[in-house]
Symmetry: C2
Subunit: 396 residues, 2 copies
């Protein structure tokens, strides 16, 4: 049989970076291309204790169907945490748990956008979200990122040009792939523009709690006085990604629509995982866990940056993130980025070519992404040495 797939799925083309990415699973490859949280930060022992307790004392609740909105005690816990962070009114109906932050972004898109509607995002931005938006036939417009976040002038120009814009999608904290953090001034600016052009903001914050340097910046959601910000959070980076537990907080009119879409997608999120997260947040010292976790990432990031300083050609510029998992590197303009990445993987270091993260994969970019959470210290040192040597051979 010859299959006739839907347009939206046919348009999701196999990525040009697949060829490089397929090497990244090989054990001999140094995994700078990954995005996995550091496994030494997983609360494995506590997860065992908690699941033992749940499945001994309350197994039916963990195994039976539950409501689509999510495990109520976890939603209460999320609300309390958001309220303590200044994130708006603590109403339980403003929160739904999702199967990872990814599902929060996907369903927000499904709820608001028709095929052909415009979604404006940072460029570069997270490939998983971009593909999710593409899978609904959405028109994507990417706006350049400055060091302190999205370029507000270009954002306004895009809002003027694209009258059918429904959503501005941003990752204000330690953005994937750049590691950049949006300044509070710019957060206010994005919110003001969203208001002026009457669009919704989709604020994706998977990395906000892994700030290991500098001061916290309030989320855009804290500015939201007319219910236009959808805030997406995740436990993937602060507890464990295999659990697939995230959440969305938004005005309940929006949450109700997301509930309808989630119900027809997966009914509800795995309930044992939701109970596990709730117990770990409440019955253990979660703040101490976060401190430990930040210490791990601070160390890894510092190590990678110092090895970069030691080894890389000065013509290769990188960001210096204060949190998250990623460093963004920019090659000299004249360089063929894809050629550079291929050479790196031939020498057993995998990085992600920058065009994975831009709207038009064929657009020229001279950047690539490096991850510091997955490699061991030894791999960080060795990998930077190899890329450093390559960069010096090519540019110095």
């Amino acid at each position: 049989m010859n299959y006739s797939f839907s347009n939206k799925v046919s348009n999701l083309k196999p990525s040009a970076i697949r060829e490089i990415m397929k090497y990244t699973a090989l054990p001999e490859i140094i995994p700078f291309a990954a995005g996995n949280p550091a496994p030494e930060a997983f609360p494995a022992k506590q997860a065992e204790e908690i699941t033992h307790k749940i499945l001994s004392e309350n197994p039916i609740a963990a195994l039976q169907y539950n409501i689509t909105e999510g495990y109520t005690p976890l939603r209460e816990t999320i609300k309390k945490r958001l309220a303590s962070q200044g994130c708006f009114n603590p109403d339980i109906d403003d929160v739904i748990t999702t199967s990872g932050g990814q599902q929060g972004n996907e369903l927000s898109c499904k709820v608001f956008l028709n095929e052909g509607d415009t979604l404006i995002c940072e460029s570069p931005s997270f490939i998983g979200s971009l593909n999710s938006f593409r899978s609904y036939g959405v028109h994507l417009v990417g706006i350049e990122l400055e060091d302190d976040g999205i370029d507000l002038n270009k954002l306004e120009a895009a809002l003027k040009t694209n009258k059918n814009t429904k959503i501005i999608y941003v990752i204000p904290n330690f953005q994937n792939p750049t590691g950049k953090c949006m300044s509070f001034e710019k957060r206010k600016g994005v919110y003001a523009l969203a208001k002026k052009y009457d669009v919704v903001i989709l604020e994706d914050n998977p990395y906000g709690e892994i700030r290991f340097e500098g001061e916290n910046i309030p989320s855009i959601k804290t500015l939201d006085n007319d219910g236009r910000v959808i805030y997406v959070g995740s436990f993937s980076k602060v507890i464990a990604p295999g659990l697939r537990v995230g959440f969305v907080s938004a005005p309940k009119d929006i949450i109700q629509k997301i509930v309808v879409c989630k119900q027809v997608s997966d009914v509800h999120t795995n309930i044992l995982a939701q109970m596990l997260c709730n117990s770990f947040l409440n019955d253990y010292d979660f703040e101490a866990h976060l401190l430990k976790l930040r210490e791990i990432y601070r160390h890894k990031c510092k190590l990678m940056l110092s090895e970069i300083d030691k080894n890389f050609s000065k013509k290769l510029i990188t960001t210096r993130p204060q949190g998250g998992l990623f460093i963004w590197a920019t090659l000299p303009d004249s360089c063929d980025m894809m050629d550079f990445c291929k050479k790196a993987v031939e020498r057993k270091v995998a990085v992600v070519p920058g065009n994975a993260f831009i709207i038009d994969e064929n657009e020229k970019t001279s950047c690539f992404r490096m991850n510091f959470s997955t490699p061991t210290d030894e791999q960080l040192i060795k990998g930077c040495e190899i890329i450093g040597k390559l960069s010096k051979e090519m540019f110095d």
Copy 2:
């Protein structure tokens, strides 16, 4: 802010049956309206043993990101089980695990159907699947169900009329909501028509393993010699629904598209739950578990049917299922079904009005659905007594 939701989501209207359904959570209501598997059938002790073992011995694998296709050993196990049931070639790339069978149906729809394309289904059919198809703006055509399954003449007529049909969606075993089972002759007929009109069959089989009477009938998938059947399975009814683990088996060209859509939806299914299912299937006596489970449902179904025979007006006709969770009742034509259901819930028995399951909710139907897996024996007896009394008052 006034929200402008997408057409596909705006069109998902709050159901006319919501008013009745909201009573069903009340503890004093006898839950004939539910669809929950019997909790006494959950392998709670084994789940505790298995998660203890996984999280003690191999916690990182259970907590880290995994591949979208699913936990490889579970996919191997699923393939072996399908092969032993005659379900086509045992290639690992023909299987993906999903977050429940619901996600399998949803993603199959997303992969094949553009807005406005036609999907033909049984009428009545499972509301969760229907709403999932509606959420993609699909044109639904419902075909009448006879006692041995879909009406093949009407199916062919619909295929002739609706040239843009992409999928025929069927639940051959103990269909939700009717409990009816499609004969092998009809399965062959559906497959032949799919071939003649070159469409895909989406075969949803959540209940196939809870046959408690009669002989197994081979799935449509076993007839598939040209790769047009997408088979959706689930562990919700045979292990536990809270885990949200199901699977799709189809030719790998289709699976690859489903993988792309799943990746942007929830990245992968909760990994601990997948490991749990795999261990329960392999390290325990799963066949003995199934026998126990079938015995529970056989008992409950028999009890409900004998109480129906004892109490109901003879003008109220019901199906007599050989498996699954549901019995379908038909009132006399002259009766106002919604009025009957409202009276039943006033007397503390909730059933699901039949229009929940038909394509056009406003179409007249004189049926309702009763579930026998959730109520206790006492509730089954009491509930049938109440509905019986009501039916005799109204019809005799």
